[in-house]
């Protein structure tokens, strides 16, 4: 008798779970059909969801950041209004596959152009020249890379920035690798590390958040050159050309500078001038 009760209960749970997932897939189908049914009435763009200043999903479901602004502008030039854009989260490790599978048309997600990636995808841009930099407390005395020896540094596990530190910049620095930059910022705030390192644009985005305002500053060391490009499926040169035209227009009509000021402004971020299309700074 007891067993039967358990069985009935679990059957009920299972049925509930099935209907719940069925609802979920219905929703997907709705949005999917509107994107395929009406021809090209929607465009899917890959961004990061977790990087303030660049690509961040706000608690209310909206998206904000420099990558988002650039992508919105480019999409407009390609003929898509902001409400026709479907944002898709593309984590670093998944960017190449998302483009190859056709999950997204464009990727604007702190995507540095490099030779390995160029074999897999095509890049439009670059649209921003970022540099690896350090975020330190506003009263810190770290001003040059050699100051780092013996200091404690935080970066994200496996990231290019972490590798650069170990190989070139400061092999004698203590490197703490954590799962995400927010964890590193927390460690910086608590004093467990002396500096956080990654692209200055990402750091500026964190430092510009209201809760950290005035606590941190960028050291401005320019430790590397990161040319952010917009990823496009390999071989789709028509889209690359269109995106490049859009990016050029964004710079000439000052929308680019406005996006930079809006997203990185409060962190005393000294941005480079807008890069020329196809001009990759090594």
């Amino acid at each position: 008798m007891k067993l039967r009760k358990v069985t009935a209960a679990s059957a009920a749970v299972l049925a509930l779970a099935l209907t719940a997932t069925a609802c979920g897939s219905d929703d997907d189908k709705d949005s999917g059909s509107s994107s395929t049914g009406g021809g090209d009435s929607k465009i899917k763009i890959g961004i990061k969801y977790d990087q303030p200043g660049l690509g961040l999903k706000e608690p209310d479901g909206s998206f904000a950041g420099f990558d988002v602004d650039v992508a919105t502008y480019v999409a407009k030039e390609l003929g898509y209004e902001p409400d026709q854009i479907e944002w898709v989260e593309t984590k670093s490790a998944d960017r190449e596959n998302a483009l190859a599978r056709g999950d997204v048309k464009l990727i604007a997600a702190t995507y540095s152009i490099n030779d390995e990636r160029k074999q897999k995808v095509d890049f439009a841009g670059p649209y921003l020249l970022a540099h690896q930099d350090l975020l330190v407390k506003s009263d810190s005395d770290i001003t040059k890379a050699t100051d780092l020896n013996g200091k404690k540094l935080c970066s994200v596990v496996g990231s290019t920035s972490a590798q650069n530190v170990q190989k070139d910049i400061a092999p004698k620095a203590q490197l703490k690798e954590l799962g995400g930059y927010s964890e590193c910022i927390a460690a910086l705030q608590s004093g467990a590390v002396d500096a956080v390192t990654t692209d200055d644009s990402i750091l500026a985005g964190f430092a510009a958040q209201d809760k950290y305002k005035g606590q941190f500053k960028l050291a401005g060391l320019k430790l590397s050159n990161e040319n952010y490009g917009i990823g496009v499926k390999k071989g789709d040169t028509a889209t690359v050309d269109k995106v490049n035209t859009a990016l050029e227009k964004m710079v000439t009509d000052k929308a680019w500078q406005k996006a930079v000021d809006d997203n990185f402004g409060p962190a005393e971020y000294k941005n480079e001038v807008a890069p020329k299309i196809g001009n990759i700074v090594k």
Binding site: A93, R117, Q119, K120, G158, Q174, L175, L178, S190, A192
Partner: protein, 222 residues
């Protein structure tokens, strides 16, 4: 085909995985046995502590435990495990601490199930000849219990081996950390994933086969 492996110390990373597993396995075997002893002991306070520990710790996600060990214990409370000036050593020790704390809960339950396979009469007979609780446990019950739980403990060991990948979250240079680095650089998710998956099969499959064979040989035939 596998030229993307060049320039990476894959074996070194797996060696770190082996070291993490071995140290954590020894630690959790000891702590787990103590917990099991507490759970069957005649002292209510110890029984309560053992039960509470196992039920709380085994229900906390391992990632939370490991990240707490690094962000909470080390960064906020300053528990650096005697390695405040070396993040590599500190990360390793904190990870082991987390793995032992977590895995011991499962080891404890495996051993307790082994203790339950020992007939009550054995413990009663042992008590009748004047052995104390700890003597009964050490000399009579646990030796028989261990022989019957080698299979379940092998499962725990295999799970622990794979769980060590969670240490990547705090930057311990084990296999999953190197995998993240390689994926970041090489843009070859599938091939790299396959190599590391294979690496773990190579580590765990022989463990399972050997301990499976051992558990058949040593099982107490009743």
């Amino acid at each position: 085909m596998f030229d993307f492996l060049e320039g990476y110390d894959v074996l070194g990373a797996f060696w770190m995985t082996v070291k993490l597993t071995a140290v954590s396995a020894i630690g959790s075997l000891i702590w787990g046995t103590l917990l099991a002893a507490m759970r069957v002991s005649p002292v209510p306070l110890m029984r309560g502590f053992g039960t509470a520990y196992v039920n709380i710790v085994r229900n906390i996600p391992l990632t939370v435990i490991i990240v707490f060990a690094s962000l909470g214990l080390a960064d906020i409370f300053g528990v650096t495990m005697g390695a405040s000036d070396n993040f590599d050593v500190q990360g390793f020790r904190l990870a082991v601490l987390g793995f032992v704390a977590y895995t011991a809960a499962f080891v404890c339950e495996a051993i307790r199930s082994g203790i339950n396979t020992v007939p009550v009469g054995q413990a009663e007979a042992a008590r009748a000849i004047g052995l104390s609780f700890s003597q009964v446990l050490r000399l009579i019950v646990l030796p028989q219990a261990f022989r019957s739980v080698i299979g379940p403990l092998a499962n725990v060991l295999i799970a622990l081996t794979k769980n060590t990948t969670v240490a990547a979250a705090i930057g311990v240079a084990e296999a999953a950390t190197l995998m993240k680095t390689m994926i970041e650089n090489e843009a070859q998710t599938l091939a790299i994933g396959a190599v590391f998956a294979l690496g773990f099969v190579v580590l765990t499959l022989p463990t399972g086969l050997f301990l499976g064979w051992l558990s058949k040989r040593l099982a107490v035939k009743r």
